[in-house]
Amino acid sequence: MRVLGLETSSPLGSVALLESGRVVASAQQEAAGSLAERIVPLLHGVLASAGWSPADIERVAVGLGPGSFTGLRVGLALAAGLGVGLGVPVVGVCSLAAIAHSATLPPEVLRVVVLDARRAEVFCGAYDAESSTVVEPRAVSLVEFPRWLAALGEPRALLGQGASLVGAEPGSDHRPLPHAVDVAAIGARLDPAQAPPEPRYVRDAGATPQSLPTAPWSR
């Protein structure tokens, strides 16, 4: 199966093409601010280098975050448009699972992925050797993190660019930010019915309903 992977939840946007689990072409782009404008040219370049046309894509796999809200919109909106245009399934892949997928570790080791979430918090989640979710991703404050981590089983390894924020040495044996190559690889084996492209914002929208008193005459 020919899979297009898209990952835009971090400052490193990426696009990858996989065929039967093999990476055919990939490209990445830093600077998240301009990614919305650059993602289609990036995709176009990758398809051209692989000698594919858009119609060759049989599935779109997209990173769901957690990560930048803006980044998620860029990737998920593009994926939805591609899905309608190509008439192929769009599957969502947890972006932290993509990092777990990139690691080479013994199978029994729990992959604990940590990303900087700003505001003195980290996005974290735990995954097994198959990149399946063991602990759902969430935002945890730096203060709470040790307690959250202690509740997880051993042996475990801390992965991801945020590991240094919680006092761990991020190993060099994995990709510290999510990449489309891993998103595509995981997405290739998911059941589309079980993996809808629903973003994992993890945080709420930061709005509080107003407690407007009802005017006595409007009752």
């Binding site: 858009p54 803006t70 309608v84 407007l212 005459w217």
Partner: protein
């Protein structure tokens, strides 16, 4: 050419299919009003999330209602500006993906130009006569209030004559609605209450009454209502509330209509066009009709669904460039600001 329009600039997720003559084949709008109501206004992050959730089903519903497949579409027009940044990214991102995957051209449309050209849309179930160029248009909505001279279908043929210095007209309705405990959005409720009120019951001064300027100002009017409530207390009975709504609405409508007619006569055009969500206001419609007749102007008021945010107007506004073979596929950019030249600088007072 059949054009698919996509609109996600504010709080409506919309998709439509329109042909080159402005004939609307399908027009689907998913409103977020209920989502934002508890917050007393639009929450941008919630708006963006809701657009992302609903855009795909809305586009699919539009194609289905027109009994078309994506293969029948010749080009895509999407709102690229002005609007909420995150919300615009959803529509343009989707449009980019759809266009690229089908090898279709896609053009970015200025939302305000869409509103100004909405009078050209033709629906199967409503008889309508499109305006003739040149015309003056009053665009009044929750986010914008301005007068334009429109000489043609292109962005370069639209000229702003004056805009609000502070609040948009719809914003003034919303703020007064909130102040009177009528909920959000305030416009429809105030309009309904005003119908049974006496517009001369409560004296409110018309903003910029002495000025011949084509600029508007509504924030002082809102303050007048606030002061009236502070001095007299909240309306004690239903009739006082209706009178207050009627008095407030009369002043807003007066200001809008007087300046619109002044602009149309000043520009020596024969036609005045209403656009934007506030054009749904029954007081504005009636007052504009009377004033246009007195000034011997032809008045064009598009059907309600063409006035409020929709994607059909975006599709039609984009169709001119698409027909010329233009394509923003690799260059589409979004902006919170309009591309139209603005003569009024918001918040700067008298020039």
């Amino acid at each position: 050419m059949l054009v698919l329009g996509i609109e996600t600039s504010c709080d409506e997720t919309a998709a439509a299919v329109v042909d080159s003559d402005g004939h609307v084949l399908a027009d689907v709008v998913h409103s977020q009003v209920a989502l934002h109501a508890p917050y007393g206004g639009i929450v941008p992050e919630l708006a963006s999330r809701d657009h992302l959730r609903n855009l795909r089903p809305v586009v699919e519903a539009a194609l289905e209602r027109a009994s078309l497949g994506i293969g029948d579409i010749g080009g895509i027009a999407v709102t690229a500006r002005p609007g909420l940044s995150g919300a615009l990214l959803v529509g343009t991102g989707f449009a980019r993906g759809l266009a690229y995957s089908r090898g279709l051209p896609v053009v970015g449309v200025d939302h305000l130009v869409g509103h100004l050209l909405a009078a050209f849309l033709r629906y199967d179930d409503v008889a309508s006569a499109p305006p003739e160029f040149p015309f003056v248009a009053l665009l009044a909505s929750g986010g914008h209030t301005a007068l334009y001279r429109v000489d043609g279908l292109e962005l370069s043929q639209v000229q702003e004559l004056g805009a609000t210095r502070d609040d948009a007209a719809g914003e003034a309705f919303d703020k007064v609605g909130k102040l009177l405990g009528l909920g959000y959005p305030g416009g429809p409720v105030i309009d309904r209450l005003a119908r049974e009120g006496d517009p001369s019951a409560i004296p409110l001064a018309r903003p910029m009454k002495q000025s011949r300027s084509l600029e508007f100002s509504f924030s002082g009017l809102k303050t007048q209502v606030m002061r009236w409530v502070a001095e007299n207390g909240a309306p004690k009975d239903d009739q006082t509330l209706r009178d207050l709504c009627a008095s407030f609405q009369r002043v807003v409508v007066d200001s809008l209509v007087k300046k619109a007619v002044t602009a149309a006569t000043g520009e020596r055009v024969g036609t005045l066009v209403l656009a934007g969500g506030v054009a749904a206001n029954s007081g504005l419609r009636q007052h504009a009709r009377e004033a246009a007749e007195r000034a011997s102007l032809a008045l064009v008021v598009p059907p309600l669904r063409a006035c409020t945010d929709n994607a059909a107007m975006i599709a039609f506004a984009g169709s001119t460039r698409l027909a010329r073979g233009e394509d923003d596929r690799f260059t589409l950019e979004t902006s919170p600001h309009t591309a139209l030249l603005q003569v009024t600088r918001k918040g700067r007072g008298r020039r």
